[in-house]
């Protein structure tokens, strides 16, 4: 539970500070990088206290549930033209710290979908994959260090 609490609390702080820094994309990018570094430290703690890979991966997926739920609602709302603009708006607010980075994606559309929107939809998936990758790399590095 401490893992989820740390991830959610730090993300709430990232959201708040990112809004304070609106209009300063450089600062917003730095905030996102600082958050990613913090999360890496949290994963390191998880490994240090002996949490298994599958547990950390499960917790990471759970930590992304708000974003995943908003993404599903938003895509559903667009496809079936229902629920109004609410899910889109909430999803954009939730992932706004990442927008200064994701807006660098070339401005194109795939079918009806804006590429930045598709990139935002992929953020929770990328975070889970990165989490798993970092945890696995960290574990491999520690094992190698023990053998040396």
């Amino acid at each position: 539970m401490w893992f989820l609490t740390k991830v959610w609390k730090s993300y709430a702080l990232l959201l708040a500070t990112s809004f304070v820094c609106l209009g300063h994309p450089g600062m917003q990018c730095l905030l996102v990088l600082a958050w990613i570094l913090y999360i890496a430290l949290v994963w390191n703690d998880a490994h240090r206290i002996g949490l298994s890979f599958s547990t950390v991966l499960r917790l990471t997926v759970m930590s992304q549930l708000p974003g995943i739920a908003l993404t599903i609602l938003s895509v559903y709302s667009e496809i079936y033209d229902t629920l109004g603009a609410g899910p889109n708006g909430l999803m954009e607010i939730w992932y706004h710290p990442f927008i200064p980075i994701l807006e660098r994606v070339p401005p194109r559309t795939f079918g009806i979908w804006s590429d930045m929107y598709l990139a935002v939809c992929l953020v929770p998936v990328v975070i889970v994959l990165l989490c798993g990758l970092c945890f696995a790399l960290g574990r491999r590095w520690r094992q190698n260090a023990r053998h040396v």
């Binding site: 609106l22 209009g23 994309p25 938003s74 895509v75 667009e78 109004g84 603009a85 609410g86 889109n88 708006g89 999803m91 954009e92 706004h96 927008i99 807006e103 660098r104 994606v105 401005p107 194109r108 559309t109 009806i112 979908w113 804006s114 590429d115 930045m116 929107y117």
Partner: protein
């Protein structure tokens, strides 16, 4: 806003507007009830041949639409820039080239990578050399309505706005 009507909400029959009088570069302001950020809740730029450029959807980004899709509003006003037709067409071309630009209502005027409705129109005219209103971080449809460089060409409003719930 707390009731989820950020962009206002429409009630009633479509307005009997006559968009045929619009010319490329005309700014179309749209109003619905309960908008959270001003009287005018949306704005689009007419680019000719019945087409408008609309930056109002996170999923689809900036897109082309037919102007007839914008009758479901309580009030519609067409504004024309107080400049030459060449400049207006230049602004229309800039907007047309912006189709596909990602939508971000929180992006400031300085951020050229994203757009929202009134920012797209402001940038289109700024690119053509016309400042529709003072430079600040965000521009709202109401700022365009109050622009000294735009004048009203046509104005339609529902006879009576009713409000439910």
């Amino acid at each position: 806003m707390l009731r989820g009507h950020l962009s206002g909400w429409y009630q009633g029959a479509p307005l009997s507007t006559n968009f045929e009088i619009a010319k490329p570069g005309d700014v179309i302001l749209l109003h619905n009830l309960d908008g959270a950020y001003g009287y005018w809740t949306h704005t689009i730029l007419y680019i000719g041949h019945g087409q408008v450029v609309d930056a109002n959807n996170f999923a689809r980004g900036t897109e082309l639409n037919h102007v007839d899709n914008y009758r479901n509003y309580a009030e519609v006003m067409i504004l024309r820039a107080n400049t030459t037709q060449v400049i207006r067409q230049r602004a229309a071309r800039f907007a047309a080239q912006a189709v596909g630009t990602p939508y971000d209502p929180l992006g400031t005027l300085a951020d050229a990578r994203t757009a929202y409705c009134s920012k797209l129109i402001w940038r289109s005219y700024a690119n053509a050399g016309v400042k529709l209103c003072a430079v600040r971080d965000w521009v709202l449809p109401d700022d365009l309505a109050n622009s000294p460089n735009l004048f009203c060409v046509a104005h339609w409003a529902a006879v009576q706005e009713k409000r439910n719930g």
